[in-house]
Symmetry: C2
Subunit: 273 residues, 2 copies
C-alpha cells in the first residue's frame, strides 16, 4: 500500500511542513520505501519531482522539504510496491495531457490487473501506460473514458465530476481504490477505504507533525485570507481534528475549500454542496 498527500490553496502556498511529515513515512516511521513523487501546479504548468528511492533518504526530497515551492494544487505519493517493480516509470504521480490541460493522478490501493486490462482493452485506447503498475493503467483508462465521453471539456463541470465518480466506482469493484486527481483547475479526492482532510483558515493555530518533531505556527506563515485544505491517507498532525472520508465518498477541492461532495445516494449519484 502507499500513502497519498494532496493540497488545494486559494493563494500559492508551500507544502514543506506536510511533505516533511510524509517523507518520514518513506522508510523511517513508515514502510513506504519504494519511491516517492510530488507534482506542483503553477498556473497551467506542472513541476514534478520523483525518485524510486526511499523518501526519507532522498537528496531531492530534502530539497523539496526545504525549498518553499508555492503552488495552488499539489499531489504527492509515497510508494510501497505491490504491482510493478520499483523503478522511475512506476513511481507516482502520473501525468498526461487532455484538452490542453496537464492531468495528474496518484493512487493508493491495489486493483485486479487482469480485470483492469480487459476493461482498458474494451474501450478506445488513446493513452498507454509507460510503466507496469495497476495505477497507471487505471489512470489511462480514466482519461480514455473522459476523452470518449467529452471530446471537448464539458460546459458544466458537475457533468465531468459525475462521470469521474462513476469511473472510480467501477474501478473500486476491482480492489482498493483511493485516489487524487487534478487537471490544474480542481482536485478530486476519491475514498474507498482511507482518506481524510483538514481545512486550515483564519484564525490559524499551531500544528504538530506526528512523524517528526516539528511544529509550525501557521499564524506566522499566513495571511487572514489564506485558505488551505490538505488531504492525506492518514492524519499528518496529532493536535488537529481531521475529517475522515466515508467509503465511496468523493470531494472536489477548489481554491483551498472542499466545496462540493459528489456523494452516493441509493443507486443514483447525487451532487450535494
Amino acid at each position: 500500500m502507499c500513502e497519498l498527500l494532496g493540497m488545494s490553496a486559494n493563494v500559492p502556498t508551500d507544502i514543506c511542513f506536510s511533505f516533511t511529515g510524509l517523507m518520514q513515512r518513506g522508510g523511517k516511521t513508515g514502510p513506504h520505501r519504494d519511491g516517492w513523487g510530488i507534482a506542483f501546479y503553477e498556473g497551467r504548468g506542472v513541476r514534478e519531482f520523483k525518485d524510486p528511492h526511499p523518501g526519507a533518504e532522498s537528496q531531492i526530497a530534502r530539497l523539496v522539504s526545504e525549498y518553499p515551492i508555492k503552488s495552488h494544487i499539489v499531489i504527492s505519493h509515497i510508494r510501497q510496491a505491490n504491482s510493478g517493480k520499483v523503478c522511475l516509470e512506476n513511481t507516482h504521480p502520473f501525468t498526461r495531457e487532455l484538452w490542453g490541460r496537464p492531468w495528474v493522478f496518484a493512487h493508493n490501493g491495489q486493483l485486479n490487473k487482469s480485470k483492469l486490462r480487459r476493461l482498458k482493452e474494451s474501450g478506445r485506447p488513446f493513452y498507454s501506460p509507460i510503466g507496469t503498475t495497476d495505477s497507471e493503467l487505471a489512470f489511462c483508462w480514466i482519461l480514455d473514458s473522459l476523452r470518449s465521453a467529452f471530446p471537448n471539456p464539458p460546459r458544466r463541470q458537475k457533468d465531468l465530476f459525475l462521470v469521474i465518480r462513476s469511473l472510480c466506482d467501477q474501478l473500486s469493484d476491482f480492489g482498493v481504490f483511493n485516489m487524487l486527481l487534478s487537471d490544474s483547475h480542481f482536485m478530486l479526492a476519491y475514498c474507498r477505504t482511507q482518506l481524510c482532510w483538514i481545512t486550515r483558515k483564519a484564525p490559524f493555530g499551531e500544528a504538530k507533525l506526528k512523524d517528526e518533531d516539528l511544529t509550525v505556527n501557521f499564524k506566522e506563515e499566513t495571511t487572514e485570507k489564506d485558505i488551505v485544505t490538505v488531504v492525506a491517507t492518514q492524519p499528518l498532525t496529532n493536535n488537529e481534528k481531521w475529517n475522515v472520508m466515508a467509503p465511496g465518498e468523493m470531494v472536489v477541492l477548489k481554491k483551498g475549500k472542499v466545496n462540493l461532495s459528489v456523494g452516493k445516494q441509493s443507486n443514483k449519484s447525487k451532487i450535494g454542496v
Copy 2:
C-alpha cells in the same frame, strides 16, 4: 533564441559538467534568463526539472549541477523567450506519451505561429499544447503526425526517422527550427542553423568549460568502455574539437554514438550510416 543541450550515453552517466556550463548562459555569461529545464531518462521513465527563473540563480539548477543523476539520455534547454510569456507551462523540454513511451522535445528557434496553427488544425488533433509557445505547438503537431502515420510503432526504425526528418523539414519552412527529440530509445538532433556535437570515449582527456572556470579529467570519471555524445547549440568547452552540423542535417544518437545521419540528397531523403 534559446540554447539546447543533449546527451546520449552507453552507460548511465551524469551530465553535471556540461549542465554547469549551460546554466551560466542562463543569465550570467548568456542572456537566456527566461527559464530552464532538463529531462533525464532512466529506463523507460523520465525525471524532469524545470524552472521559469534564470538558471544561473536557480536553487533547483544548483541541485541538478551538484547531484549526479545518472541517465542514458538527457535533454536540456535554457530559454530566451520570443513566443509565449515566461511561465512554467512555456518552459522546455515538453513531454507527451505516444505508444507507451515518454517523448521529450526541446526547440531552439522561432516559427511563424499562424502558419503553424493552420498546419496543426489541418491534421487529426490528438495532442494539445498546455502553454502558448510555438515550440510546444510544433511538438504536438509532430506527435499528431506520427500517431496518424503509425498507429503502432513501425517495425523498421528508419521509417520513423524518415518521417520525423520530413516533418522537421516542413517546420523549417516556417522559421528557425533546431531541435532535440527522444522517445527513451534514441535521441534525434535536427539542425537548421546551429547545433554541434562531440563524442567522448577512451582514451579520455581533459575538458575545460568555456563559461565557468571548471576543468574535468574524464579519465578519472569514466571506464574504458564508456561512450558519451554531447549535443549543444554552441561548443561548451574550448579545448576540444566539436563537430558542427550542416543546415538540414539530422543525426540519430544511440548508446552514446552518432550512429546514423538522416541526410538530404537532391529532393529525396536518404539515410546514410
